[in-house]
Amino acid sequence: MIHTETLTLISDGRFHAFNVTEEVRAAVRTAGIRAGSALVFYRHTTGAVMIVEHEAGMLLDLEEVLEQITPVARDYKHHLRGVDFNGAAHVRTALMNVSVTVPVLDGDLAVGTYQDIVVLDMDPEPRPRTVIVQVMGE
């Protein structure tokens, strides 16, 4: 059985984080599988999907670490086209993951107590963002 859902997140960009754990859990319930896996895929090039403890301090720490590695104000070659100015977000995405896979056991996500599925939008612009959740199993 394969069950697919699309989540649309209304994002303010910059470093807007969304905890989608409950939405993915609901997709697993809808799929009705007992064992398998759930894939969570971010359908853009300026964001990431992570499994982390969704905590305010951790998010700010991550933002500060990424700012050291890939400063927003850097002169990115990506900006030379003059189309957009989100080079930092693209580089960060390349360094991170745009998908995670979580095992499903006994009809539920087999995540640890402090593991949350968090989608991070690092684009400078606010816009709707699409996440595909695909549940596979039996």
Partner: protein
Amino acid sequence: MTVCRINHLVFWADGVVVTPAGQAAWGAVAPGRRPDAKTRLALHHLEQGLADGTLSPEEFCKGAGDLAGVSLPKGDLMEKLPEQIAPIPGMPEVLEELTCRRLALSLASGVPRQWLISALQRSGLARWLPEDQVWIAADWGGFPPLLDALLERGQVVPGRSLWVDDHSLRTSEALRRGVDSAVFVHPRQFTRDLGLWGLVPFAGASLARG
């Protein structure tokens, strides 16, 4: 066991304690209809305009009506909308628990004062969140100025106050100003986090971390 220094929680009302304004407006203008992504983004922008004071309540209502393709009699939505602002399920119990633990509670919001106060009174939330503990972002020109004003006036105290919010950009702003902050997703997760802060008994204390 954590020794807790926090004695005051400030909740961002919209989406944490009560229905956000955009959702309430849509419920009033288009009951039973599900907004598409473009409409949700537009409602979100209307909410932001309301919160930072660039949109009046009347302009917000007109904008929501336009999005739904509904032309309402003048003032009609202004009356209907506050009725759509309801408590987030599970939050009254959380507020009761925190009050029993003698923690001071305050509310910050992006909606007009009269809408929020009427919702708090109608729903019974005013029992835990009295009117003099309600702060409206538009009165200060939006969220960061509101937080700065509360810090300056000593109504939010770094090290003592915990800012609770469902928007990661606001929690980061609070942390940058030295104010402890918690991300809100839903009451169950929030109760877990309150346990980690040492504010309520920690049901998950025996569970492995990491």
